[in-house]
Each structure stands twice: as structure tokens, then as C-alpha cells.
């Protein structure tokens, strides 16, 4: 906001593809940009789903193995529970007037947050550059990541 604030730079690593799991990265990135902080997100492993064209609108919430889940594990594992949890989460996001992942990525892109896909994860999941959303700047390797994030705070979300 002011020129006296030292230059800051954030690099977030999004390695999970759950609907609930991608939001911390997206929100933090957006907050950084809104605060005038330079920011990038590196989508790797299942986090790649968040920037994959045919997956971004179908991200799910998985309650199994989540100790904070209000659902007992043996119920959370029943068929259909994942869909139920996901739809509940979507409804909650709507209530809070939070944009969905696709719109969030659009906002971030507009806001000047750069987004990268992980090259190794791409090969692992057999995806090509065309499978990813256009908001993704580039597909990079882990070493590229370090070159790009010199001087940044790196946060694994």
C-alpha cells in the first residue's frame, strides 16, 4: 500500500486436489495480490487437478482420514458420502459468496498471480499442456521452481 513496506514475494505450492484443499492456496495467493505482494502458485501432483480443464469443476471433498470431519470415518467412507460432502461444501462457498475454483483462478490470473504446472506430475498423470487451463503460465520442473522463487517466501499448502 505504501512505498515504505519492503518488497515481498510469495510462492505457494499446491500439492492437493481436494475442493477444500486447494482453497488455502487460492485465497492466500489472492490476498497476497490484494496486498500488493508479488505471488505465484506451483501446482504439483494432485494439485494439478485444480488447473486441469476437465477436472477443475469436479473437485471433491474427501472426509475419510480427516480428523476434523464431523462424519465418523466408517460413514464418510460409504458410497455417495464424498458427493454429499462436496455438494455441501459448494453450497457453503456460495453462501459465503466465494467464487468456485475456476473463477478464483481467473481472478488470480487477472490479479497478476502467475501459475505453473509441475512437469513431472504432468508426465505422471499423462497430461499435456492442452489439458491445462489457459491461466497456467508454464510447465516447469522443480529446479525451475527454485530459479523462479529466488527471494520469495515459499509456502507448501
Amino acid at each position: 500500500m505504501t512505498d515504505t513496506v519492503p518488497e515481498r514475494k510469495m510462492a505457494l505450492i499446491c500439492a492437493k486436489g481436494g475442493l477444500d484443499e486447494c482453497y488455502p492456496a487460492l485465497i492466500l495467493a489472492n490476498a497476497a495480490r490484494m496486498s500488493g505482494i508479488d505471488c505465484m502458485i506451483f501446482f504439483t501432483f494432485y494439485g494439478l487437478d485444480v488447473v486441469t480443464e476437465d477436472r477443475v469443476d469436479h473437485l471433491h471433498v474427501n472426509m475419510v482420514g480427516n480428523p476434523s470431519s464431523p462424519m465418523p470415518p466408517f460413514i464418510a467412507g460409504l458410497p455417495g458420502m464424498e458427493l454429499l460432502a462436496s455438494s455441501m461444501m459448494r453450497r457453503k462457498l456460495d453462501e459465503l459468496d466465494l467464487p468456485g475454483p475456476r473463477e478464483m483462478l481467473g481472478i488470480l490470473h487477472e490479479a497478476g498471480c502467475t501459475m505453473y504446472g509441475c512437469e513431472l506430475a504432468m508426465r505422471m498423470f499423462g497430461r499435456t499442456r492442452e489439458d491445462l487451463l489457459p491461466v497456467v503460465e508454464d510447465v516447469i520442473t522443480a529446479t525451475d521452481f527454485y530459479d523462479l522463487t529466488a527471494g520469495a517466501h515459499i509456502v507448501f499448502v
Partner: protein, 300 residues
Amino acid sequence: MDTLPSDLADRLGRVEAKLDRLLRAQEAVDELVDDGMHIVRELTHATTPTLLELERKGWFAKGAELWHVVDEVVEGYSVEDVRLLAENVVTILDTVRTITQPDVMELASRAVEAVHEADGLEPVGPLAMLRASRDEDVQRGLAVVVEVVRRVGEATARLQTPHPAPRRVASKPTPGHVVRRPVAAPAAPAATPSPAPVAAPPAGGGVAYDAQGFLVDRSAWTPELAEQLAASVGITLTEDHWRILRWIREEVDRSGASPNVRRIALGADVPIRTLYELFPKGPGKTAARLAGVPKPAGCI
């Protein structure tokens, strides 16, 4: 030296007289003892069966043990203890009176009954415990037990603190009794990182700003002030800027809340990218500051 024999004879004579007295006394005692022995013998004859009977019943063993108890008590307590006992005698008597009230005795006798009938009871596992806890009597009993435990704890805490603790220890934990996490000072102004001297909000006729440089009183805003504020963050206001600032002010008038970036983009129909170009150091906050409205809340 010739006086010695006569002196000696004199002393011997006195000793003899004493001996004579002693002997006579001895005889008298002998007679007494003789008589006494008769009586004792008679007595012994008479009491032996009784004593035997007592012995058989273990009275003497018990007596010896009782003596042990007395001995222990005397050895185990100091004078100080006895003084304390004297001081607390009223309390003790009170306690004794309380526990000998008929209803308490009734309670005790019921408890004893239960112990006597314990043979017929099933062992209680966790499930049976749950079942039992649904019984109203058990619930009442549990309440009593809990209350007793609470009071014991209260008394213990009182004993442990040097000064008489407040009566209800449970509700007012004494220091050292319950470990409390230090509570963060509520609404600590120091907690919010105040971005060092906010690029000198220009002295526009004594307008007040908050710690982060937002106008305190929205009505104090003037277009000239916006110009000055913009210049202080390196922005030259264009018509595009003005359109957004006007929309923000209208929006705050309408809804009472400062709009965030997404709302501005949707409401003022500006692409988010343009907003970032117009207000590079964070459009939400910068635009709100220039428009003289509070800092927008929320994460988006």
C-alpha cells in the same frame, strides 16, 4: 585417739537399736504377709477360674494390644498435636454430631446392607455401568459422589495454598492449581502491523486517519483530499480512477460495507486486471483509502 572406741560403741549401740526396730517391723510385715498370703491365696482360688475364662477369651492379649495402641498414640503425637486437637475439638464434635444424625446413620446402614448383599451382585462392566447410569437413584448417588469429590478437592486446594482460598475453588482456580494459557490481549492495537508512518497522509485541514491510513470519518472526504492521497502513493488520478472511486463511495452509501476487489470489478464493471493496473499496490485497499471509506473486509 582414745575417744574412738567409745564413739564406735555408741554408734554400734544406735545401729543395734535400729536393727532391732527393723527386725520387729520385719516380723510385723511377715505376719501381715502371712495373713495377706492367705487372703491372696483365697482370692486366687476364687478368681483363677474367672481369670482363666478371661484368658481363654483373649482379654489379656487384647489388653496388651490396647496398651500398644495407647503407647503408639502417645509416641505418635506431639504436644503440638494435642494443642491442635484442643483447638479443633469443636470442629471434631460438630463432625461427629453431623455423622451421627439419624439420616446419615440410615445412609451408612444402607451402604452396609449393600456391602452385605454384595455376594448376589453381578460384576459391572462398562456397558452395565452405562445401563446403571440411567437409573435415577444411581444418578442421584453419582451427583452426591461428585459433590463430595468436589468438596474434597476444594479442601485440598485450600490446604495447599498459604492463604485461605476463596470458598468456591472450582469456579475460582487458585494460581498453580489450574494452568491457564496466557490469553492474548483482546483487541491489541499492537497486534496489527501498522505499516510504518503511512506515507504522510497530507494534512488536509485536520482530517483524522486510522493506524493504516484510512479516513476515520467518511464525510470528511473531498476530491482534493483524494488527489493528495493518490499523489502520496504515486498515483495520478484519471477519469478511470474517479469512476471507480465514485462507485465505491456510492456502494458504501448503499450497503454500508467497503467493497472488495471482486465486488468493485462486478459492480463498476471493470476487469480485475484493469483494477490492478490502476491501483498497483493492491486495488482493494488503495481504492478504499483514496475513496475515503474503511478498509474492505474479507479475503477475496
